[in-house]
Subunit: 455 residues, 2 copies
Amino acid sequence: MSDTVKYLLDETRIPKTWYNIAADLPAPLAPPLHPGTKQPIGPDDLAPLFPMALIGQEVSTERDIEIPEPVREVYRQWRPAPLFRARRLEKALNTPAKIYYKYEGVSPAGSHKPNTAVPQAFYNKEAGVKRLSTETGAGQWGSSLAFAGALFDLEVEVFMVRVSYDQKPYRRALMETYGARCIPSPSGETNAGRTALEAKPDHMGSLGLAISEAVEVAAQRDDTKYALGSVLNHVLLHQTIVGQEAMAQLEMAGDYPDVIVGCTGGGSNFAGIVFPFLGEQLRGGKNVRIVAVEPAACPSLTRGQFAYDFGDTGHLTPLVKMHTLGSTFIPPGFHAGGLRYHGMAPMVSHIMDLGLMEAKAYHQSKCFEAGVQFARTEGILPAPEANHAVKGAIDEAIRCREEGKSETILFNLCGHGHFDMQAYMDYFAGKLQDLDYDEADLAMALAGLPTETAA
Amino acid sequence: MSDTVKYLLDETRIPKTWYNIAADLPAPLAPPLHPGTKQPIGPDDLAPLFPMALIGQEVSTERDIEIPEPVREVYRQWRPAPLFRARRLEKALNTPAKIYYKYEGVSPAGSHKPNTAVPQAFYNKEAGVKRLSTETGAGQWGSSLAFAGALFDLEVEVFMVRVSYDQKPYRRALMETYGARCIPSPSGETNAGRTALEAKPDHMGSLGLAISEAVEVAAQRDDTKYALGSVLNHVLLHQTIVGQEAMAQLEMAGDYPDVIVGCTGGGSNFAGIVFPFLGEQLRGGKNVRIVAVEPAACPSLTRGQFAYDFGDTGHLTPLVKMHTLGSTFIPPGFHAGGLRYHGMAPMVSHIMDLGLMEAKAYHQSKCFEAGVQFARTEGILPAPEANHAVKGAIDEAIRCREEGKSETILFNLCGHGHFDMQAYMDYFAGKLQDLDYDEADLAMALAGLPTETAA
């Protein structure tokens, strides 16, 4: 067979547990600190924002955490997600490498995000919560939480980064179709939003600022909790079903990765595909090269500092130790809105610090070029975020060709680009600029990192 | 289990043959006639437009027609498509009916159309063709042929109905991402297009006119053939894998439909889900009620005449006997562009005439209302075309509730609406009008039907 091959698991093979890499790491995560006292926080400090079940997962060091059956029932609608061997792309690249991709765009919302939106909605519903507030960049997360909210009868309010709100009205329409309310951020509805608008009336927004707004409304209302689409341990945990399924599917193919490539914004899609394989390695299994690909315009892993910082611009969240560009850093308005975050998941940052992975940064035009090649060979149109992983995988395959090596490359195609066609139109019209961040802005943001911490 | 249930077949269960209902019909189709002589045409008359393999399928009365292995290899990327039991929708409707839907939006282009685009590209490539010309309404067909062309290294030129070209720039961007050239119709590139533009410079186009343009360029160039996305026998034939898979999946569920609902534009998605079940019935199997749902603004089955007519506006195609509103009929610019065709597939029309099915027509706002209810329960956002089938299925389920009957309802969710968000935005903004056709235009179009035919 010379065509693209699909590896599909029976739905009984949807994992029964999420994999918690905290159980296998050689050193523990630095603790999150209270934004006021700068002392390590406890579960009670997080209780206004999250239900206890999720707080328990956030701090757990148990290796395998059971997936509730009602969550698995919802997963069954699109899971196990397919794994493909990209034979047509391999042929186009004339590479001896084998390229596999896990495709998470098969979910109703079109990305990996429902993997965590569904359990978050479930646990909140169980805890008697009426409404969830959240932020979204490109809209993948907001539409996923809107979808999950519709299933579990929860109201959903989404603060959407202004630049994406303007670029992607159809993502907003999708959230509204699912019944959610979508608010451009910065908004006039919160102190954080009003402060930002006063400073800069044409503020294009950022994930860090939208987080501040969503956290603020959740903290103020008794019936509302907050949901985050990436960064936190429990969010990364929920995504590990991706890597677990991929491992079983590669076993069907009689293969195992030499290299895993993932794009990184907050880190959840990357963690989802990587952590189960990395866990194997940490428990004495095969070594795998792990490559994170981030946008050159928002390069937290390759240009940020590993330091305690706020998760949001308004400094309402705990301080977490992570690779960060500084919470005041405002990335330019490039198209991969899901990767426009100043920080990186503490767990991914920790693993980077432990030397267990590497990172590289690409400008967006090369990523779109890769995405178009992928669409013309594999037929699936990737999201701009996923194009970073596609580009990373193609470069690995080209390296294999040059070195004459038949390595096995695995990457996560975390979502489709059906709501990102303006970006493709701009690309074809030659209007897609390779935006760079402002060096002075970055220097100032890094200089402003909080220093009086316990770490 | 109370949640939505997925029935998935192993890829070895992709059908090995297409099902040709011509083998089981009690009376044969009326023959197509030459547009000049009005005499029955032979295969040679079609040779300028289609490769011989497809012409053979067009006129075949063999029951099972083998699917070439390279076509099945491509199908494997997304087939067998899932069948779902819509438990969440059933619950929301409080109906004793069981609602199943086959979901064809899992294909790379997002609809059932690649089921025929792939074999059409394959047979043309085998015949040495360099380029395919076609028309598209909503863009589902054009993007599917663009996808198939990319896989088989064929150039693709798509004449896109102007109203959709303007309403859906992102569908065009998808076609261009796959490497196709997209031209708004009427265009200045053909006699048919120029004539239409001279008569009406702001012509919004129609499928019938776009067909004329695509046929004209194929007839003029030796290296170019024409591909049609619906209406013709061989196109309907290719779609029968949908119904065959659904039958196997319902067998897994221990069920069989009492009612099948399909939306109808040219008839291919309807035929795909219906014909295999109807064939069972014709060979002595269980009787199934078959309900076609069409737009009230373009009601060929419910308001058209069953008569010989041209397939296109420019009168370049053969005359076929079908339910038609007249080839000069121009439907208003409603959102389900894929249903804006003046005629109906001759095979579907013939079956309607034989009394084997029924038809009903809906205005678009009720269909969007149904689509939103579907999205909020089942999570999948349907295309405007598919919303007609959703509305038809919901009405059947409500009837079952009122009659206290636990019938089994099957419908084909033929595509997702990710490229149709403007329509959803218009719906939420209260701007979606229930457009009606012009009665005088219809009367004139019907009066202009060709009369001097052999039939």
